[in-house]
């Protein structure tokens, strides 16, 4: 008990270890695997990403004839970004992907 008592009293005087999240943000480290985005200019339609995706989250957009990633299935493994020959897909640091409409959770 004395051991934890001293720790508890010390904690009272220290700055808390937590932050008030929506107001204070902690930046993810470099190389964080957040939401993947597709640079349409760079895409050469090789469809390697579709083959590499373990979750079948990437499909072809019928209008633009370019791939689009559905975040509802994406597991953020980063295989598509790795396999893309032109580096058109990159993993961003964006992790706040909650949405009311799951169908619109897409990287076009």
């Amino acid at each position: 008990m004395p051991r934890i008592l001293s720790q508890v009293l010390k904690n009272l005087l220290r700055k808390p270890a937590t932050v008030k999240y929506p107001y204070v943000r902690v930046k993810p480290p470099k190389g964080y695997r957040g939401a993947p985005v597709i640079d349409k200019e760079k895409c050469i339609r090789c469809w390697l990403c579709i083959r590499a995706c373990p979750d079948r989250a990437i499909s072809v957009n019928k209008e633009t004839k370019k791939p689009s990633i559905w975040h509802g299935r994406c597991t953020f493994c980063g295989e598509c970004a790795e396999v893309c020959p032109t580096r058109a897909i990159t993993m961003t640091e964006d992790f706040e992907l909650a949405t009311y409409d799951i169908q619109r959770a897409r990287s076009e």
Binding site: M1, R3, I4, Q7, V8, A17, P28, P29, G31, Y32, R33, A52, P54, D55, G72, T75, F76, C77, G78, E79, E82, M91, I102, Q103
Partner: protein, 383 residues
């Protein structure tokens, strides 16, 4: 006269859905029965419908807490099937991430165990320190929980030289706080009152029921796959196997806490001795018919993968034996004779991971009437 106390499928003592049926006489438990299967996802069958590469990510999804050790075991097994050897540096990186995972898993255990015995301060402090490990893992793998680092033939990300100082600082902090927890565990009267002499698993029972991991080690059984059947870089790394003799919840906790210290040493040693060179080699995924087993020491104990290939890109059969599954047979001998108040902490003593456990079957929407509704509901909800 006995009556039945149901624990689960949803119960605050269980962090995952599982059903325990305790038969009690007064406060004393006379029998326990476990119903598994509330978190079935049909993973073993799903393995044989995806190719080897996609299966890496499926194996990571078996369990969130010990995902790296699952994918490492899977990748090592496939590498054995394909007859390739990953580069040395990749083995060391795998070892580092696996040990970080062990630290994080054991601190998580400590936090929830403290919560089960009503010691919320220790719960918060343990999870605060767990955050340091998560940050380290995030730094080297890009994900806090799912590392997605392993691939067949090596690893996908290198440990960069600029990461090393941050690593050593983080490990220093962890070592300090782990030592503090060990002292606390040894001296605090209320923890001792709640954890000693309950859920005792004798050494004979531990052997008889084939228990694995910290549960077996707390009963004085010196078993550790890292030492018995070294894989990856563990041949070259030196460490002690922490064992205790009492077999009660306290001993299980102590084994885990001491393992954290060992893991910190392993990570330090691996960082120092890590050779240079490539981190991955290319492996053709047309694997000739063969079969293999691979065993590793997950945070909860021995993890076994059996894979049979059939010449295509898709495995014929993947069998996963997770550590919790191996420990369930011994549960009865831990509970019988105890009291109801001990249930949560004794269940948590073996560090159960039900998601790990329930993965065998395939949920089909066409058989079994109750399934139809739930599956359709899921579908509707998804769209």
């Amino acid at each position: 006269m006995t009556f039945v106390v149901p624990i689960g499928p949803q119960h605050p003592a269980l962090k995952e859905p599982e059903f325990f049926r305790f038969e009690v006489r007064g406060e004393e438990i006379v029998d326990v029965d476990i119903h598994l299967g509330y978190a079935h996802r049909g993973i073993e069958e799903a393995f044989s419908r995806r190719n080897y590469k996609h299966n890496i990510y499926l194996s990571e999804r078996i369990c969130g807490i010990c995902n790296v050790v699952h994918s490492t075991t899977y990748c090592q097994a496939v590498e054995q099937l394909a007859g390739v050897e990953p580069p040395e540096r990749a083995k060391y990186i795998r070892a580092i991430i696996m040990e970080l995972e062990r630290i994080h898993s054991h601190l998580l255990w400590l936090g929830i165990a403290a919560h089960q015995i009503g010691f919320n301060t220790l719960f918060m402090l343990a999870w605060r320190d767990r955050e340091y490990v998560m940050d380290l893992r995030e730094m080297i793998s890009g994900g806090r929980v799912h590392s997605a680092t392993n691939t067949i033939g090596g690893v996908r990300r290198d440990v960069k030289i600029e990461h090393v100082p941050t690593f050593l600082r983080g490990l220093e902090k962890l070592e300090q706080s782990t030592n503090y927890y060990i002292n606390l565990f040894k001296s605090d009267r209320t923890i001792l009152a709640r954890c000693t002499n309950l859920g005792v698993l004798s050494k004979e029972d531990a052997i008889k029921f084939c228990t694995v991991g910290p549960t077996a080690r707390a009963s004085g059984l010196k078993t550790d796959i890292r030492r018995d059947d070294p894989y990856g870089a563990y041949d070259a790394l030196s460490f002690d196997v922490a064992i205790e003799r009492d077999g009660d919840v306290w001993a299980k906790g102590m084994v885990r806490l001491r393992e954290i210290l060992e893991s910190i040493q392993i990570v330090r040693q691996a960082l120092k001795e890590m050779p240079g060179g490539p981190i991955r080699i290319r492996v053709g995924l047309q694997i000739p018919p063969n079969e293999t087993i691979e065993r590793t020491e997950a945070p909860r104990g021995e993890l076994l993968y059996y894979i049979r290939s059939n010449g295509t890109e898709i495995p014929e059969r993947v069998r996963v034996r997770t550590p919790t599954y191996g420990n369930f047979a011994s549960m009865k001998s831990m509970f019988v004779g105890g009291t109801i108040a001990e249930i949560p902490i004794v269940i948590w003593g073996i560090d159960p991971c039900f998601a790990c456990n329930d993965r065998v079957t395939l949920v089909d929407s066409r058989t079994g009437k109750t399934r139809i509704a739930s599956f359709d509901e899921l579908r509707r909800w998804r769209k």
